[in-house]
């Protein structure tokens, strides 16, 4: 069974890039254009969860940190690996993300292969 990934970003370019890369790697890809949209998509998924979530932090409606906290507060999302996309690799953002429950991070811009490498660190492929 293919693994499912949820990519949450307000930039459609970024979503497309991630979708392209992950589809190539054999993932089913779901998309959310902000935190709230992504939560809705999750709810609609069978079992209420995906194998990995990749989320941006700065988004309208619901930002990434809130989204992560929301996911972690759901029983189905407690142990899902969550990678956050950051433009600035500052420690403060990472710490905030981790405090919210993120598993790891990837710094933009990234090469498609780098994304797969980082996913490989949190999810057995």
């Amino acid at each position: 069974m293919p693994k499912t990934a949820l990519i949450v970003d307000d930039s459609s370019t970024m979503r497309r890039l991630v979708r392209f890369t992950l589809t190539e790697a054999g993932f089913e890809v779901l998309e959310g254009n902000d935190g709230q949209d992504a939560l809705d998509k999750l709810t609609a998924t069978p079992g209420g969860k995906v194998d990995i979530i990749i989320t941006d932090l700065n988004m309208p409606v619901m930002d990434g940190l809130t989204f992560i906290k929301q996911v972690r507060s759901r029983a189905s999302g407690r142990f899902t690996p969550i990678l956050m996309l950051t433009t600035e690799s500052q420690e403060s953002r990472k710490a905030e993300g981790k405090a919210a429950g993120a598993t790891g991070w990837i710094v933009k811009p990234f090469h498609p292969q780098q994304l797969l490498t980082v996913i490989g660190k949190v999810l057995p492929l």
Binding site: R78, F79, A95, G101, T103, K121, P124
Partner: protein, 679 residues
């Protein structure tokens, strides 16, 4: 330094000596089979163990040296460095250095040559394959990884097991330990909390960064330590093991102290020296005994105890009806105690390979030094000998082997000319022979040159040119005379004319003797006959008047009762007895020991013919009592030296019997004979 540590020093040194012997053996095997991984592993383990021990006990220099050696060997083992003659030479030299360092550590030598040249050489070889960068990808190293995840990593979607899998993907895990000590009881456990920690060691070609990368997302809240396995960390680990096996309660604390001061070489040097001096004197008093032997002893003592209670029950309310059972119990006890005696003696016995071990290396070095090709053959290495004998025989044997290589074996050209194979053979052969051990050192070389020995003997005034030619045996025995050497040039291997006489004296000191036989063009064989043990003697008890004496069985040729015409006086002073057409000096033991005999007429008495160094003497005694094993007690330590007496023993009935010093008696009597015949 703590006393508890010193207890282990001796064990360490003994173990180190064994390891070095294995190391040396391995190196020599490696020379002929450079690809033998098993051998490589063996020598690596030897270096590794010595390193661990030396670091633990604060022998810093040894530890540092073996550390480099181990690093080098590790690369050899992994195929990064090829085994060639240069490498073997380097390893052999390192071995010698290591021996020297250990001598110093034991307080046997005051200083060793500097290790620096060898260390530099080793570094060069190591660096040649490392290209200078020691932790770049592609170089195999031993990684120690400690990972104690933060409590809440699970709640952030991290998966420690998956992280471990990634670690495993980075190399070959050699040890993995999951620390569950923080795991609470089930009722206190939060299933979403991570309580576990991991200690992993692996061989990897990945660099440190690779491993840090794996833990990138959990590094902040977790303990992640990545280090190279090094000498000192490992050593203290090893000490923990020693401490456990020895079950000394507070050595663990000591181990920690040791770990601390090992890390500080300056501080370590002084205390370790004082400690080793104290040990050096105790060395010869310890003995490593296989547990097998000890188990057998315990077993036998157990049998004796059972036996005793059996006897007790028989003796209580004894009646004649119980006699068969009493006899049976006594017989049983006799068997057990005899076996116990044998076993106790065997505790002191070691296989002679302890003495043979040094020869492969010696032969190899000498062969190289004198340009000869030599095949060393040994047999009977498992033959057991008393520890004292083994320790004392190693040097004389070494001298014999050197001598055979230097003087006995020809150069390859000479051998070819003589129609022999170019490779000469040196054979060491040990075996039992009638209550004694025989060690033969033989070569297939040119044999002793009878003419030259004779010439030399005359030159040195050992006999006169006008004397009738002595027997071949006598001629060959001149090589054992002090100051005799036939070597045409003095080499650094052997042959300064000191040696063979010293060899002979050393062997006699052990209660043994040496003979030589030779066939011109075919070789020479030295035969060393040694007593099994120095503490026990196979003896014949004889009586002279009221007294009982013991004659060492090894020196007895035969016992006879002479006929009327067999006893004669020579030059009106010296009594001789004719035995098989041979006139032997007759010694009346009662005269020598001034006791009152029962029999003075030789035809009514017994004459025991004893031999030493090929000279025979007849001893006049009253009667033969029987053969038995006696435990030698020194007369010298308990009383004083008495000429003609080698020691004393306590007989079964509690009386003291003196052991006769046959070589001494023979010397005195033959000297007297020569004196009287000259007069």
């Amino acid at each position: 330094m703590n006393l508890d540590m010193e207890m282990f020093h001796q064990t360490f040194f003994e173990e180190a000596a064994e390891l070095l012997a294995d190391f040396e053996g391995g190196l020599l095997r490696l020379e002929t089979a450079p690809d033998d991984l098993e051998t490589l592993n063996t020598i690596f383990r030897c270096a590794h163990s010595i390193k661990g021990g030396s670091a633990t006990f604060g022998f810093t220099e040894v530890a540092q040296f073996t550390h480099s050696l181990e690093t080098l060997l590790d690369k050899v083992r992994n195929g990064q460095i090829l085994v060639d003659s240069g490498l073997i030479q380097l390893l052999l030299e390192s071995l010698d250095q290591l021996k020297a360092l250990l001598e110093v550590a034991q307080g046997h030598a005051s200083e060793a040559p500097s290790s620096l040249p060898l260390l530099a050489q080793m570094d060069m070889v190591i660096e040649s394959v490392e290209g200078g960068a020691s932790d770049a990808d592609g170089v195999l190293w031993r990684v120690r990884l400690r990972f104690y995840p933060g409590d809440d990593v699970l709640q952030r979607g991290a998966n420690p097991l998956f992280l471990m899998e990634q670690v495993a993907g980075g190399g070959h895990i050699t040890s993995l330990e999951c620390d569950i000590s923080k795991l609470p009881s089930l009722k206190d456990m939060n299933p979403e909390t991570c309580y576990l920690g991991w200690n992993i060691e692996l061989l990897s070609e990945k660099d440190t960064a690779y491993f840090h990368e794996i833990f990138e997302f959990v590094a902040d809240e977790s303990v992640v330590e990545i280090s190279a396995v090094d000498a000192f960390a490992e050593a203290s680990g090893q000490f923990d093991q020693i401490a456990e096996t020895a079950s000394v309660p507070d050595t663990r604390e000591t181990a920690k102290e040791a770990g601390v001061f090992v890390g500080n070489p300056e501080a370590a040097i002084a205390p370790s020296k004082t400690a080793t001096v104290a040990i050096a004197s105790a060395e010869s008093h310890t003995l490593r005994v296989s547990t097998d032997k000890v188990d057998k002893l315990i077993n036998l003592v157990g049998e004796l105890v059972i036996n005793q209670s059996m006897l007790n029950s028989v003796i209580q309310d004894f009646s004649m009806a119980k006699l068969p059972r009493l006899i049976e119990a006594v017989a049983e006890m006799e068997r057990a105690s005899r076996e116990l005696q044998e076993r106790v003696m065997s505790v002191r016995m070691l296989p002679i390979k302890h003495a043979f071990g040094r020869f492969p290396r010696l032969v190899r070095d000498l062969a190289a030094a004198c340009g000869k090709q030599i095949d060393l053959q040994t047999s009977g290495e498992e033959t057991e000998l008393d520890k004292t004998v083994i320790e004392s025989i190693a040097d004389p044997l070494t001298h014999l082997v050197r001598n055979s290589i230097d003087h006995g074996l020809e150069t390859p050209e000479d051998r070819r000319r003589a129609g022999k194979g170019v490779t000469g053979i040196i054979a060491l052969h040990a075996f039992h022979e009638g209550g004694a051990i025989v060690v033969e050192v033989s070569d297939d070389g040119r044999g002793l040159d009878k003419e030259r020995i004779l010439r030399k003997a005359i030159e040195r005034g050992m006999l006169s040119a006008t004397d009738p030619a002595p027997s071949d045996e006598t001629i060959y025995n001149y090589i054992f005379h002090p100051g005799f050497s036939t070597a045409e040039r003095v080499t650094d291997l052997s042959g300064r004319g000191v040696g063979m006489d010293i060899v002979k004296r050393a062997i006699q000191g052990l209660g043994g003797f040496i003979t030589v036989s030779t066939t011109p063009g075919q070789g020479t064989r030295f035969r060393v006959r040694l007593p099994l043990t120095m503490a026990i003697l196979e003896g014949l008890s004889i009586s002279v008047g009221e007294e009982v004496y013991i004659l060492p069985l090894t020196s007895i040729v035969e016992s006879i009762r002479p006929g009327r015409g067999d006893v004669r006086l020579i030059a009106g002073a010296t009594e001789v007895v004719m035995v098989r057409q041979e006139a032997l000096p007759l010694l009346r033991l009662y005269q020598i020991f001034r006791s009152t005999p029962i029999v003075t007429d030789p035809t009514q008495a017994i004459i025991v013919v004893v031999e030493n160094e090929g000279r025979k003497v007849g001893l006049l005694v009253d009667a033969l009592i029987g053969q038995s094993q006696v435990v030698i007690k020194s007369l010298e330590t308990n009383y004083r030296k008495v000429s003609g007496i080698a020691g004393a023993t306590i007989m079964g009935d509690g009386r003291v019997a003196l052991i006769i010093d046959v070589p001494g008696l023979v010397r005195v009597s033959t000297g007297r004979l020569e004196y009287t015949s000259a007069a």
